[in-house]
């Protein structure tokens, strides 16, 4: 078993133009920064990206939008991004907006081998267009399908050589559900340790879901809204 790669360039080397990628993170928190940089460098394009947000102009998936690498964005919230808005309004970028819980659950469903499930989010809205509606106990639900992705790219705090992952605080967000959903899953971690060093009870993503892992470097971890209080 060898899941360990040297760096992002090696881990993403077989990602090709036209593929569908899942990218973990919420806002700018818990982003696979190293892989995004490597994807920008590699210059693949025509990508379909599934990610809760589209980054900001000069960070996260925003960097890939700048290079026009993204053909279609599947996300729940895409504010805070002028270049995104420009491409959307000009028709250069295809966008599918999905309720945040539905987005997370469609990833999870893939990782749970569950092709479809019913959820109440979006009943009676634009999101329901073309979808089966069914009533359970007097309440209406939409049938939603599991996502498929050629690659899932996630960021964790710690990982071991078997691919077991532990996330930190709210940098967990979409990372665990996407890690389960990729046809191939790449995990970049701040700390890569030998198998056996992580407490088996405390693992968030079991290694069976993770195909490649590497220790990332130079995490910027940009803060979108720096809110503080003063000491008394």
């Amino acid at each position: 078993m060898n899941k360990v790669y040297n760096n992002a360039d090696e881990a993403i080397s077989d990602i090709e133009s036209g593929m569908t990628l899942m990218l973990g993170g919420f806002g700018l928190c818990g982003l696979p920064e190293n892989c995004i940089a490597a994807l920008v460098k590699k210059g693949v394009n025509n990508l379909t990206c599934i990610s809760n947000n589209a980054g900001v102009d000069d960070f996260g998936i925003g960097l890939m939008l700048q290079k026009r690498q993204v053909k279609k964005m599947i996300a729940s919230y895409v504010g805070e991004n002028a270049e995104f808005e420009r491409q959307l309004l000009s028709g250069e970028l295809e966008v599918e907006l999905v309720p945040q819980g539905t987005l997370a659950t469609r990833c999870m469903a893939a990782g749970y081998g569950m092709p479809a499930f019913f959820t109440p989010a979006g009943v009676g809205t634009e999101v329901a267009a073309g979808k089966e509606v069914r009533e359970f106990d007097g309440k209406k639900y939409l049938l939603e399908h599991a996502f498929k992705a050629d690659f899932a790219i996630v960021k964790a705090w710690k990982g071991d050589t078997h691919g077991n992952l532990i996330y930190k605080e709210t940098a967990r967000n979409f990372n665990p559900v996407m890690a389960m959903a990729g046809n191939i899953t790449i995990a970049e971690v701040e700390h890569l340790v030998p198998a056996g060093e992580l407490e088996p009870d405390m693992i968030h993503t079991p290694g069976i879901y993770v195909h490649r892992i590497f220790q990332g470097k130079q995490y910027e971890k940009r803060i979108e809204q720096r809110t503080t209080r003063k000491r008394n």
């Binding site: 819980g101 809205t125 665990p176 971890k221 803060i223």
Partner: protein, 218 residues
């Protein structure tokens, strides 16, 4: 006098009960956290994966890995728990959140809410709002009664794309506190120095005045 945003939040905070799990949306709803009544304990849920949102960090102690759903740096409290986005919306859909406070662009007198899109002008996305409104049993909307042009945002029918149908039961605006009943908006508390006539003039949707109309006390 019309309520300030802080006062709207302050009034909503009175709906909190001990032991409540509460999801506060971005904007006025976030301010509710500043007015949690003394002596009760509530747990704030952040849909990016945190139960037990604490106050903003002290300067210099910001942690990029610890943010709320508004992407603001926050802290934890005693008893906090982190989880992933699927479980976060799982607990929301399963009805485990006791109270959800949200902003809105428009509200219909049947409780439809529009909050995520202005066609041709603004498409930021619905984020978690559609999941929240479809799931919560207890939703209070915090919003301005009229737009900048002075037009009512409490309508017969929403004109903007819907976030959820017939889901809002209560709304607090700068003019007062309204229940949403089968007869439309029901004014139950009126803001200090606001007249019923002003409320009527500014409400396009069906409006009734409660038999027990009270002056709002903050």
């Amino acid at each position: 006098m019309a309520l300030t945003k802080e006062q709207i939040a302050q009034r909503i905070a009175k709906e909190l009960q001990d032991g409540y799990y509460v999801n506060l949306g971005i904007g006025i709803p976030t301010l509710v956290a500043n007015y949690i009544p003394e002596g009760i304990e509530v747990v704030l849920q952040s849909e990016n994966g945190l139960l037990g949102i604490g106050p903003f960090p002290f300067e210099g102690e910001e942690d990029a890995d610890l943010i709320n759903a508004g992407k603001q740096t926050v802290t934890t409290v005693k008893g906090s728990a982190f989880f992933d986005s699927a479980l976060s919306f799982g607990m929301i859909r399963a009805g485990k959140v006791n109270l959800t406070v949200l902003g809105a662009m428009e509200l219909s007198d049947r409780g439809d809410i529009a909050s995520w899109k202005i066609p041709g002008k603004m498409v930021k996305g619905m984020g978690g709002a559609m999941d929240l409104v479809a799931s919560a049993k207890n939703i209070i909307v915090a919003m301005q009664h009229t737009n900048k042009a002075g037009e009512s945002k409490l309508l017969k029918e929403c004109t903007l794309p819907i976030t959820g149908l017939a889901c809002v039961k209560k709304v607090v605006t700068e003019l007062g506190f309204f229940n949403i009943t089968e007869n439309g908006f029901e004014l139950v508390e009126i803001a200090p120095d606001i007249t019923v006539e002003e409320v009527k003039a500014k409400t396009e949707g069906r409006l009734t005045i409660s038999q027990n109309l009270k002056k709002m006390i903050l």
